[in-house]
Amino acid sequence: MAQRAQPISGSAGAVAGSFVIAAVLAAFVGIALRAEPGAGLGPAEWQAVRFTVVQAALSALISVLLAVPLARALARRQMPGRRMLITLLGAPFILPVIVAVLGLLAIFGRNGWVNLALDALGLPTVSIYGLHGVVLAHVFFNLPLATRLLLQGWQSIPAERFRLAAQLDLPPWMVFRSLEMPMLLRILPGAAALIFVICLTSFAVALTLGGGPRATTIELAIYQAFRFDFDLAKAAWLSVVQLVLAGGAAGIALWMIPQIPLTGGLDRPVRRWDAKGGGQRVLDVLAILLGSAFLLLPLVSVALSGLAGLEAVPASVWRSAGVSLWVAGLSVCVLLILALPLAGWIATRARGSVEAIGLLGLSASPLMIGTGWFILINPIADPVSLSLPVTAVVNALMALPFALRILVPVLRETLDSQGRLCLTLGMQGWAAWVWVLLPRARPQIGFAAGLTGALSVGDLGVIALFADPDRTTLPLQMYRLMGAYQTEAAAGAALILLSMALAIFWLCDKGGRYSAHA
């Protein structure tokens, strides 16, 4: 297919893309400068690589498969509090890992609610520790993401098509096959690849719930290489393996999937005549109930223990909450500066291959980026004084692929439907952005900003490596509380962290939708 003229050029996007590549490459160069030739990768490291791939593949597969019934039910049922439920169901994804693990253990742990219930019924109890525990935790984190991506897919099917299907009196399975299946085929591989990459870089979850050293992930091996062996060469090799795996997954997902063009509808509210049957209703209610229980019960337990510990929370926690807020704000700014031009560039191209750049930041180990930049900054300036901006940039890089997934479809659709009109009117570049693209993409921009802010607030990130004692982020302060026997106060801090992440997400998401509903 020949490239046709577009109202926006790709040059700003190319600059943003180059920045992302340069940021990751610079870190590699920094480490390469200091690395001494080491022993390379031994059997322990290769075992870590194998385990990482297996758990990430399982987690991605199960997350997207479970997301199908849940997103479908949410897409075709109207009920009071539906919006609220969708926002809340997104919470596990933005939950700091350590908080989530506490919540999961309260439900699935040895003394968790599930085992108490099994015990009361006289059934054998289950253990969460092992590969299945790691996968369970990853599904808990990523089911919300998969559900949100699929929900967007469902919303992209024009209402007219369901109307037509109803007029043709198609049975529910035919509606699924002819309308929903093509959309799923288009969205599922990308969603699965994204989740695969997220799970590749998993760290704390795998170790705590994995039950032992057989559950070592690549990211953990990188951490060990940096911290314990100080073997920069090994750390760099492991980072390369991680990048290649993630890049491979991204490549498969982004190159092989054909673009199925969807013609826009008339923005009529979707009515689903096919979902009226009793069986369909039971299916949907079941999916929503089970999904909500799985995703929300751990949050409830975090909130309960947090409320008890809120009193014990010292003033310093609130100060660090302020610091985290600042980092999150900076992260959102960096993200928007990078993601908007990059998404615009990708949207003008026929295929999404450039989107792979976005995955670079996520698949590169944050520890490696932090250390690499430390080595580069050290001769020029004091890296510690730059720890907060560096954290903000790394957080933005990690959120970039999510932002692109969210922004690219709407920009592409807008360019397809309005691009010719823009050209006819001579609206190009800046004018096209301000008058056409940004207003149309406002809900998605809000969503992406909220996601980035929330992820950034909850991320411990590179700051743990070199923190200034006076500028502590909330997750770091929470770790300190846990390290000082202050488990109650740490639970309180976890609740504050959870509330902050949710509030940031909700505000940005709401802000983005404000005009859409006005």
Binding site: R34, A44, G211, G212, S316, N378, V384, A467, Y479, Y485
Partner: protein, 326 residues
């Protein structure tokens, strides 16, 4: 008018800042939080030295290795005995200048570069209200039923986890692999660091946790909770120490020396137990804070010097990994 006053104030403050010498001390992350010993040390030392003690926290050894000769540190506090060999090899440190014979450690300390300021031992902690028959020896621990769940730390990411594999090595030597095979079914999970393990234990997820002989002291003195106990084994417990070192290229050598002397002072040593929940390195047991000398401590102490530990470490970790990967 107001603006000039503020400007004058800022000018004065910077003036004062320029005159007061600054001692930069690198410390572990936990150290300077309000629950660590950092704030007390800062206040007390600044009274003595008429200087400004500034903390800089983070991962000590990786940071020193990355910074090399450009390091801003004058003094580094909190280096554990497992990383002193690596720290020594950087040649950034000079002699500590204090008298080792004033130390009251249960082992003989001859190092003239790294000066211990506290110590403890590895131990398994249990809750006596939920555990009827705690193990009376390491052998007894191995013979416990497999439904007794223990949580430990990864020796590749945590100092206490490393101390455990060296502890097993010191007690059982060649038989370590069998010992780990016997322990494996009892190990609920392995965590990255001590705090995650301890959280699992206090949440009731695990019956025993690998921690320190001084952990019960925190519960006793800070929470008046007398149910947490350390299982004391006649086979001996592994010794753990934290040290302080002086950077050779410091621009404040006298202040750094003053700090080293302060570490050995009675004031500092008497503060360590309740501020750091560990045992003081240079204070006779009779002078410990009230109640501390009743804390059950092991009679036999096991310890590998840094060269021995370096030689054993890789193989001991590999034995652990193999046994627990089955």
């Amino acid at each position: 008018m107001r603006r000039t006053l503020i400007a004058a104030g800022i000018a004065l403050a910077t003036q004062a800042g320029a005159d007061t010498p600054v001692l930069t001390v690198y410390a572990g992350d936990y150290f300077t939080s309000e629950w660590g010993p950092g704030p007390i040390i800062e206040t007390e030392f600044e009274k003595l030295c008429e200087c400004d003690l500034q903390w800089s926290t983070g991962d000590l050894l990786p940071r020193l290795l990355l910074e090399g000769e450009r390091t801003k540190a004058d003094v580094v506090i909190g280096l554990t005995s497992d990383v002193t060999a690596r720290a020594r090899a950087t040649e950034l440190f000079t002699v500590h200048g204090q008298d080792n014979s004033a130390l009251t450690l249960p082992i003989d300390w001859t190092d003239d570069t790294f000066l211990p300021f506290n110590y403890g031992h590895t131990a398994f902690i249990y809750n006596e209200t939920t555990m009827d028959a705690p193990p009376a020896s390491f052998d007894a621990l191995l013979e416990m039923p497999d439904d007794v769940k223990i949580v430990i730390q990864d020796p590749r990411t945590s100092i206490s986890g490393l101390a455990l594999v060296l502890w097993v090595q010191a007690v059982y030597g060649e038989r370590s692999a069998d010992v780990w095979a016997k322990l494996a079914p009892k190990i609920l999970t392995v965590t990255k660091d001590w705090s995650a393990s301890y959280g699992l234990f206090t949440d009731g997820e695990a019956d025993m946790v690998l921690s320190y002989t001084t952990s019960p002291a925190y519960h006793m003195f800070a929470e008046e909770d007398f149910t947490k106990k350390a299982a004391i084994f006649p086979e001996g417990h592994y010794f753990m120490v934290e040290t302080v070192g002086k950077i050779a290229a410091t621009d404040q050598p006298e202040l750094a020396d003053k700090f080293m002397a302060y570490v050995m002072s009675r004031d500092f040593q008497a503060m360590i137990p309740t501020a750091n929940w560990s045992l003081p390195s240079a204070l006779p047991q009779s002078d410990w804070p009230e109640g501390w000398s009743e804390l059950p401590l092991p009679e036999k102490v096991l310890f590998y010097s840094e060269t021995e530990a370096a030689a054993l470490q890789a193989e001991a970790i590999e034995t652990w990994r193999n046994a627990l990967s089955q």
